[in-house]
């Protein structure tokens, strides 16, 4: 693989080094000289091991929790275009109780020596055509029928198809004959969005190379950059693929230049294709064989397998996705989990093509699945190492678990739905352990949970899957971020048993007198935009308390900006604002950058002088006024008039910072109420009377649940 040469390309590596330093907490002066010495990450990476699990300082690359899905496919659109064997098994639930091994002729994987194996991923910005390219590759290698209209075959979730995104990494083993040899090409499809980059990292850990897909029309976008660096840092071979060259406005030459400038990859290495039409896709497969090295592994050594993903099947238990670094595994082997030290007997091994296809064995360098009677996904810890019984090996480095960055309350719309929702959340988190769940309750909204997500899209996707796959409708409150407080009060330290506490719920916010300082999470954001919007975007970033770290042209009229953002400034509506003020042209991505000191305050909302507990908010001091005003205004719009005036106030301690008034009703009586009006009137009154029972009383003010929902809920439309 070709690595950008530090000394040759100061502009690009300046960005790179700063980005890495930002992540690692470094604050060097930038410039070329600093890079080599400063970069512990690169040092780690340069150990030269192909299966390195790099990146100690970055949650989103290492946050490698399971977001498995295969068992959670209820509610998928019925027609699945690919008539593959696994798909057939999917559509016939009764078959699921049999092992697929009973029905399939097993493949002999020993036919694929390590030198004929390639493990690769496709990475791209949203909508640049990653899944379409995957479809074509699957067709070309006969994994799926070419005559069928294949669309996003690997995107199996309804939410993936509807949103045109990939949420869950999928694996497909492709068999391809090239120059007289049969190759095993393991394609690991990855999610494109920032929230799911932990999936990307996890996938990359099993790869030696990536296809970096860039839209010939849109060019490099923020996620292209982020994903490139993930691959780059993992020392993978990067094959740039310029897609959609069939589009009218396609400008592949310009994109080549961008790639050369930003990633330092010579333009002649770019493969120009149209995945939609299939143009030049064959050369992509050939490049995979020619440019991506085979994994450096040893069949002769004892088994060492990395669990890089897992799913749960209610009939067969845990299905672990494994990459073999050393050795061989076959049915009947006794294996041990390095993490739990539990021993299992392997029931089935196989490859994914893209559906499960049993094999006799799996050999070092190969990627496949393994079923070994694990009853619970927690038994198949992502990042765990499996080895043969009585042949212990040094475990692989493993992964840190995913750290939720966005928290939100989730409540059933009707409390009678609580148990249904509870079981839906349990089932969904079974395959997505990156979601954290804490029970919570609100006087207004009843019993519910405080859920932690990896990001906003993750949260939306989770919510959408609850709705689509479990038919659950929920109230989701405005997301908050995990603040921290460094305690000074000895009593509190004793109580919490630690000096630094994380505050997930504003109700737990400790008073200023008891803390040394408050901390808020920050992220390093990358924005790529046509330069005409730069001014507006910089103003937006400034308004979000962001600090500019870097700015560079990626071509004549596209600019890449790097900012340090407080996370809470971008979790709600930053992306929407950015899109709307750039007419949709700017792209955005971010990565974790640790915590910084922040002047945080607790803001109360009062109704006629009484605190509304569910509306207590933690805000930055500079934002308290505008946040308070916004909440008061939203409340004003959603509180029905009552028989007396209602004062809505936002307060910091005893200081009122915003106020709105809902005037008393002066007239509220039906004008015409005669014989023909009585039925309708009584019906309305019945509804109102029933609604009254559900009102939450704050002092003498009746607050309908709707008002809370309007204030607390994520505003999907602005």
């Amino acid at each position: 693989m070709r690595r950008p040469d530090v000394s040759e390309s100061p502009s690009v590596l300046g960005v790179l080094s700063r980005s890495l330093r930002g992540r690692l907490g470094g604050n060097g002066g930038g410039g070329d000289g600093a890079v080599a010495s400063l970069d512990p990450l690169l040092t780690i990476l340069s150990r030269g091991e192909m299966w390195t699990l790099a990146g100690q300082g970055c949650w989103r690359r290492c946050a490698l929790a399971a977001w498995a899905t295969r068992a959670v496919r209820r509610g998928l659109p019925a027609p699945r275009p690919a008539p593959t064997r696994g798909a057939a098994a999917e559509s016939k639930p009764p078959d699921r109780s049999y092992s697929s091994a009973d029905r399939k002729e097993k493949i002999d994987m020993s036919r694929f020596p390590v030198e004929n194996t390639r493990n690769f991923s496709i990475i791209a910005h949203v909508d640049h055509g990653k899944s379409t390219l995957a479809d074509r590759l699957l067709e070309l290698t006969g994994a799926i029928d070419k005559t069928k209209n294949n669309k996003q075959v690997l995107d199996k979730l309804q939410v993936e198809r509807e949103r045109g995104i990939t949420v869950k990494a999928q694996t497909a083993s492709l068999f391809y004959d090239y120059e007289g040899k049969q190759y095993l090409l393991n394609l690991i499809d990855t999610p494109g969005h920032v929230d799911f980059s932990y999936e990307v990292s996890r996938s990359l850990s099993a790869c030696q190379g990536v296809l970096l897909v860039v839209d010939a029309n849109e060019g490099i976008q923020a996620q292209t950059v982020a994903n490139f660096f993930l691959a780059f840092e993992a020392q993978l071979s990067v094959i740039p693929v310029i897609n959609k060259i069939d589009l009218k406005n396609a400008d592949p030459e310009r994109v080549e230049k961008q790639i050369e400038k930003v990633f330092d990859i010579p333009s002649d290495e770019c493969i120009k294709i149209s995945a939609k039409l299939g143009t030049n896709v064959e050369s992509v497969l050939q490049a995979v064989i020619k440019r991506i090295p085979p994994p450096k592994v040893h069949r002769k050594n004892p088994l060492r397998a990395l669990v890089f993903d897992s799913t749960f099947d209610q009939y067969r238990g845990v299905i672990a996705n494994v990459a073999l670094f050393d050795g061989v595994v076959s049915k009947g082997d006794k294996i041990v989990s390095a993490h739990t030290q539990k021993t299992y007997e392997v029931n089935e091994v196989g490859v994914l093509n893209p559906n499960e296809q049993p094999t006799h064995k799996l050999y070092a360098g190969q990627v496949g699945y393994l079923i070994a009677g694990m009853k619970d996904v927690t038994e198949a810890q992502i990042g765990d190492t499996l080895y043969l019984h009585k042949q212990p090996v040094e475990p692989l480095p493993g992964f840190k678990s995913a750290k939720p960055m966005v928290f939100a309350g989730m409540y059933p719309i009707d409390q009678s739905e609580y148990n249904n929702l509870k079981s839906a959340i349990e089932k969904l988190t079974l395959n997505d352990s990156s979601v954290t769940v804490h029970r919570d309750s609100s006087l207004a909204l009843g019993a519910g949970w405080r859920l932690g997500f990896l990001g906003l899209l993750h949260m939306e996707v989770f919510n959408q899957r609850l709705e689509q796959e479990y038919n659950a409708s929920v109230i989701l409150t405005t997301p908050t971020v995990p603040y921290k407080a460094v305690l000074s009060s000895a009593k509190l330290i004793k109580e919490y048993r630690e000096k630094e506490i994380t505050i997930i719920n504003p109700a737990q916010f400790p008073d200023k007198s008891k803390v040394t300082e408050y901390l808020e999470p920050i992220v390093l954001g990358t924005i790529i935009t046509p330069d005409e919007y730069t001014g507006k975007i910089m103003m937006l970033c400034q308004a979000r308390r962001a600090v500019q770290k870097n700015m560079m042209y990626v071509d004549q009229n596209r600019i890449m900006l790097k900012y340090l953002f407080p996370l809470n400034e971008i979790v709600v509506d930053f992306y929407d604002s950015l899109k709307s003020l750039s007419s949709g042209y700017a792209s955005f991505d971010y990565e974790d950058a640790g915590y910084q000191t922040a002047e945080l305050v607790k803001m109360d909302i009062l109704l006629n002088g009484n605190i509304v507990e569910e509306l207590v908010t933690v805000v930055h001091k500079d934002k308290a006024y505008s946040a308070g005003k916004a909440i008061c205004e939203r409340l004003k719009d959603s509180l029905p008039r009552q028989l007396f005036e209602i004062a809505i106030q936002a307060a910091l301690g005893s200081k009122i910072i915003a106020r709105e008034t809902v005037k008393a009703y002066r007239k509220n009586v039906l004008a015409k109420c005669y014989g023909g009006d009585i039925t309708r009137k009584m019906k309305l009154l019945k509804r109102q009377t029933e609604g009254k029972k559900k009102l939450r009383k704050v002092g003498n003010v009746e607050v309908p649940k709707d008002a809370f929902i309007k204030v607390l809920k994520t505003q999907s439309d602005k």
Partner: protein, 520 residues
Amino acid sequence: MRKDGRAAAVSAPVPSRWRCGPEPSRRRSDTGRGHAAPFLPPGRPTRPGSAHTGRFALGSSRSRVLARAPGRPATAGGTALRGVQARGWVKAGKMAQRRRLAEDAGGPRGPTPGSQRAALYVHWPYCEKRCSYCNFNKYIPRGVDEAAMRRCLVTEAQTLLQLSGVRRVESVFFGGGTPSLASPHTVAAVLEAVAQATHLPADSEVTLEANPTSAPSSRLAAFRAAGVNRLSIGLQSLDDTELQLLGRTHSASEALQMLAEARRHFPGRVSVDLMLGLPAQHVGPWLGQLRKLLRLCDDHVSLYQLSLERGTALFTQVQQGALPAPDPELAAEMYQEGRAVLREAGFRQYEVSNFARNGALSTHNWTYWQCGQYLGVGPGAHGRFIPQGAGGHTREARIQTLEPDSWMKEVTLFGHGTRRRVPLGELALLEEVLAMGLRTDVGITHQHWQQFEPQLTLWDLFVADKEVQELLEQGLLLLDHRGLRCSWEGLAVLDSMLPTLLSRLQEAWQQRTPSPVPGG
């Protein structure tokens, strides 16, 4: 029943058509307590009438009507009646005009028990033109087969009267639609049918809704001759621009001319409607209209705040931004100022939107607010009564088929066009007593409440409730030896208080010790 009626009619010739209908002989023992008789005979299974399908058999009502024509053999033809009819209407009209209502409208009136009395609403579904604010059940016809309509109204009135077992009709209201577009003959025919089927006292209030353009002087006289003794004029505004906005066919001057004519024909018995809270309407000019109207009007005024109803042209215009949305604050101010102006002019606000002086309250509408029985005749008409004639013991809310042609078909086939019957449970009826009664200035007297609920008193219900106490303390609601009622301020915000009162009632109803059910 039918047999009784016929026998009575034949055996009792009487001088005046309306008065002549002798009180049908009472089969059930009368309590003799007049209005105090409960609407719900205790201890009967609360099931709707026998007709499972919502239809019920109808005897040959036509022959029955004829049989009851005074002094005539049962087979006499209609034409022979004309002369008698004319004389009868004139006399009845005069009688009715002489009548003045007592100040406490709704008080005891005659010995008939509540379950045997009813008000009668007759719906004329046609209009010349669609008003921009109206979402009522009305149709703009190409041509009305009035004879057919008349036949059907008469038939349905007869059917429902028989079904209800009502012996006395205390008021008739011709609403619509634009009933003043109907011919006086139609009005007369319905009244005649009522008078023949039951007792329609000479002083019964008979109101006709009229639009200024549809009722020239000659027609007013004819309506009066037909038995109408009260006129309600949809004047709506004295501003031509506003009238246009409302899609009315008349001008302000036409309306005032009509008002003057009406007062000549129905002195002391004319009501006018005035709307408030129109888009772009302001308080000052509107009060000017009200003051002008007060110089010209009779003894009854209704003030209606415009409510934008979905599906109307006005709603769409406001929705699309072609018109400003009415300002509720301004409407509230108009209402408050208007009430005060009317009070100064000697009007009693006897209901949320209704004002009368010299005791000229509408008894018909009062029946609604007192939860008396009423029958609804005509397409889409609503009724609330016990179908005693069919053996029923529970009050039902009934709705007739909406669309005139379907309704007529049903009436022709089945004698009535009842589309929906919903039995009203005891609690539901009490809720109506509360919600309707509080619209009046008298409110709910202890006596009145006791007629419907002899066990739980108003005191029991409300005196200990914290939220009700707050309303009492705020001076919005009054609970004293007379009963429960809204204050002047409270009346304007009644709909904000009702959920509190109703939930208290529901709570108390659930907690009450279940009363023994006599007679099972």
